[in-house]
Symmetry: C2
Subunit: 211 residues, 2 copies
């Protein structure tokens, strides 16, 4: 197997933390998104949409999407469970993982890509070489999403020790990566969100967080 | 259990088709998104973000997100499998389901919501009562996403009989709902996409499609 990675990018990090929690190590191939290496002909031959991460199996099958890669490993190595242990937990992890992803990761991406000069022609990931011009209005919409992200993260942490209940799951991984990603565009956990502050201190110091 | 539904909306339809394929019927409570019933105090007490569908379990637990609801039922009633039968299929269904969702459903939503007067103050779903103004530039970006949706759907169908391989899965359900949704904003399967035309004729006539 091979894992096409980008060390600095927030989405590959979600998958790396997931793998580290399961104690799985894979050969990593670095592709630098900031330099646009994901849009070179060489990488587009691997992933025609230019997306990272991509997992390549030993039979040559390749697929992208963080959640697809995580589900693959959850199935072949269920322990420790990171996507829920029963139907209700599975649903809750999926629902909250998505909230953290859409509000935090995608909100952060809207703010970052739509004002950063290097992304002026690629405001949306996954379009391959197609020009997707930046839309300045998305900076404001992304800012609203990030506020929603922090609001809901604090509410979820009032219901359990972790984002989707009483055990650490993928919802925590995505939330952690989103907190660190939105710091790129100068947002941070509001001081009054004390549950989130305490949760962050705990999850950001797990060994997996440095993966 | 209760299923908070909106008969006309494309996302609740994805879950209804999934349930119909499994032969599961649930009490449905209609909430009309077009009339804004999902943003009334009564519904915001059920789902504070105003999202549909929402599933309510007998113990009172509620969760939203189509994929969370589908994963719940896939776990409690695995047959017929709609999210993959082994690790590789599970990953492929997730990856392609997401492509059909992001390009087709979300692309369609960007075109629809950012030009429809009724959505001028709620261009993004899931923000509860918060004002999210329409962004005209998203109509063009959504149009590009819909083109990408049709392009990739045709490519996927060149690799197998269905969107994620040789069996009907959630990736087909999302793609079917996206094709029908983007018709609202006057997009249709390009005539030269013959595999997609044949696939649509087949999936749109399954009994579940009218759910």
């Amino acid at each position: 197997m091979k894992f096409y990675d980008c060390a600095i990018a927030p989405n590959p990090r979600r998958a790396r933390i997931f793998l580290a929690e399961k104690g799985i190590s894979l050969p990593m191939i670095e592709v630098d998104i900031l330099k646009g290496e994901n849009l070179t002909p060489a990488y587009l031959a691997i992933n025609p949409r230019g997306l990272l991460p991509t997992l390549e199996l030993d039979d040559g099958t390749r697929f992208d999407e963080v959640m697809a890669i995580c589900r693959y490993f959850e199935r072949i190595q269920p322990s420790p469970p990171l996507l829920g242990r029963n139907a209700k937990e599975i649903a809750m992890v999926e629902s909250r993982q998505r909230k953290m992803e859409f509000d935090g990761m995608i909100g952060g991406s809207e703010v970052f890509r739509n004002q950063h000069p290097d992304f002026a022609q690629r405001s949306l990931p996954g379009a391959g070489g197609e020009v997707i011009p930046a839309i300045p209005g998305l900076v404001e919409r992304g800012t609203q999403s990030i506020a929603r992200f922090f609001k809901w993260l604090e509410i979820y942490l009032g219901e359990g020790e972790f984002v989707a209940g009483d055990i650490f799951t993928m919802a925590d991984i995505t939330a952690l990566c989103a907190v660190d990603f939105v710091a790129w565009v100068k947002f941070s956990i509001p001081p009054e969100n004390t549950r989130t502050q305490a949760w962050y201190a705990k999850v950001a110091t797990r060994p997996s967080a440095s993966a």
